[in-house]
Amino acid sequence: MAKVLMKGNEAMALAAIKGGCDAFFGYPITPQNEVPEYLSYHMKENNRVFVQAESEVAAINMVYGAAGAGARVLTSSSSPGIALKQEGISYMAGSELPAVIINVMRGGPGLGGIQPSQGDYNQVTRGGGNGDYHVLSFGPETLQETVDLVRHAFDLADYYRNPVMIAVDGLIGQMMEPVDLDNKIASMDLPTKEWASNGKSGERGRLNKIVSLHLDPYDLEKHNLKLKKKYDEMVEKEQRYELINTDDADIVIVAYGTVARVARSTVKTLREEGIKVGILRPISLWPFPEKAFEKLPESVHSLLTVEMSLGQMHQDVRIVNEGKRNLAFYGRAGGVVPEADEIADEVRKLVKGANA
């Protein structure tokens, strides 16, 4: 129950064990290496499976096999590795297989850099795999929120039979913070995995098949519509967000993960100056928390999206806003974390009459 001081990546790894993870498959990449390093020791200790795969492509397909056989499975990687996993993620969505995927984001495109970034927003929320599918994804702000979500993600994945991604920037992966790994979290009532293809057809008296192939277009459309029902349920139930100082706000910063954390200081400074600013912090990235925008008071005239990327989440803000409020954007890229003062300067530009 007590809080322990842990590095982000190691805390996520331990949270996975606590979340009932049976097997981990992954491939080394900075800045997430402490996840497999930690698990290579502690999974064996707990009689669970750890395999260092030959590539991210192989890792995600091991995840597919193990998940298809009914296990609770984790893989973790960083941006270029997540790109390689997209084929497997599409297959898992198509075959309705649960798994938890940790993405400790770094700068891109290409090999990019290894400093913290949010440049994977599109990759996380739109995916790079083929077909009509979605991945339930979260972008937590603190280590406590991250580990709680990692633990809960295994339940969510099983409930929806769909991959769940936890996307943190490298800062959260690398920093040390006190965390409670037994924090009380919601637990879900889950049915046993009657569908698992695990070599127990004799015992079961029925064959189980894990398949994403539907050659008949009407069959496939039916399957697509079945998947869509799940996505609709996620949109209904899984939008998560935090509204910070928005009740009387004129201006609201929209930011997630580390940027939201920095923006908290911005809000403190600006409030002392008398500027009424708040934060809308998406926690779920897909589904994008549209409901949070509905909750903003009429007094909010401007939204400032701040990201460690050049306007990826801002596209979603534009869609949700539907031209209602004045929009502004501020982004840093390449692994540069915006400072509270920079964000404050951007907010000041939006104060009514500031440009008059």
């Binding site: 049976d22 097997a23 498959f25 499976v49 395999v51 795969a53 030959e54 590539s55 492509v57 192989a58 890792a59 397909n61 091991m62 995840v63 597919y64 096999g65 193990a66 998940a67 298809g68 056989a69 009914g70 296990a71 499975v73 084929e87 497997g88 297959y91 075959s95 293809s197 695990n198 070599g199 127990k200 057809s201 004799g202 015992e203 064959l207 189980n208 098949k209 894990i210 398949v211 994403s212 192939l213």
Partner: protein, 251 residues
């Protein structure tokens, strides 16, 4: 009058009609796998992994639990299943495009880790499902839709010999190349399959049986000419026989 059953379909396969072209040897290989799984008492505890190729629908044919893998990834999928269910019998069924081209890393590393799985590798020297393109196993001079003048060594190198290659991987346990072009060889092939599944049952590690197989449709030959071509052209380049038996080295 007493009746006696002298032949019946194996219970190792479902009643689904096979989707293979007439004269294609995929069907014989399926039957052998079904028979071996039944005779060894493994069927009810097996998971078969269908790959991408003409055998993509084999998840409907094997009368056991199945998973359908992405192109080339069957050995990784098998790894995930076997590591979390060590008591299940796990096998993959892969063509030469699947195993020797796009899935080369996955097969080599499954062997390298000594995964306790059985791989059935169907080498027909061509990409069957996509309409007869060149495979890494296509013979020099062999005409395909992407080597219309015959495979040229200068452009495309020499055909890849997978059993020979995997024999150099220390982690592999049992490797044998067989053919199903006549009853004598079919019997031999079945023995090899039995051995491969025994290796897995005895937890002795990675086993692969490579089948020389035909593709009458894309080779542009009658089924009989295809069998002759396999014997006259393929087997000289891909000699049949045992390439590795690590079960002997162990004791």
């Amino acid at each position: 009058m007493k009746t006696e059953t002298i032949y019946q379909p194996t219970k190792g396969l479902t009643e689904r009609q096979l989707t293979y072209c007439p004269g294609c040897t995929h069907g014989i290989i399926h039957k052998l796998i079904g028979e071996v799984l039944v005779e060894k008492g493994l069927l009810d505890t097996s998971v078969g992994i269908a790959s991408v190729g003409c055998s993509v629908m084999s998840y409907e044919f094997f009368n056991c639990d199945t998973q359908q893998a992405a192109h080339g990834r069957a050995p990784a999928v098998a790894t995930g299943i076997k590591r979390t269910n060590p008591d299940a019998t796990v096998f993959t069924y892969q063509g030469d495009g699947d195993l020797a081209s796009i899935g080369l890393a996955e097969i080599v590393h499954a062997a390298h880790r000594g995964e306790n799985i059985t791989v059935i590798f169907v080498n027909n020297a061509i990409y069957g499902m996509t309409g007869g393109q060149m495979a890494p196993t296509t013979l020099i001079g062999q005409k395909t839709t992407t080597s219309p003048r015959g495979r040229d060594q200068g452009d495309t190198g020499l055909p890849l010999r997978m059993s020979e290659m995997l024999a150099t991987v220390p982690g592999a346990t049992y490797l044998e190349r067989v053919s199903v072009h006549d009853p004598k060889h079919i019997r031999k092939a079945k023995k090899a399959l039995e051995k491969a599944f025994d290796v897995q049952t005895n937890k002795q590690g990675f086993s692969m049986i490579e089948f020389i197989s035909t593709c009458p449709v894309n080779w542009g030959m009658t089924p009989q000419d295809s069998l002759n071509w396999a014997v006259d052209q393929m087997i000289p380049y891909y000699p049949l026989g045992l390439y590795k038996d690590g079960t002997k080295e162990e004791n």
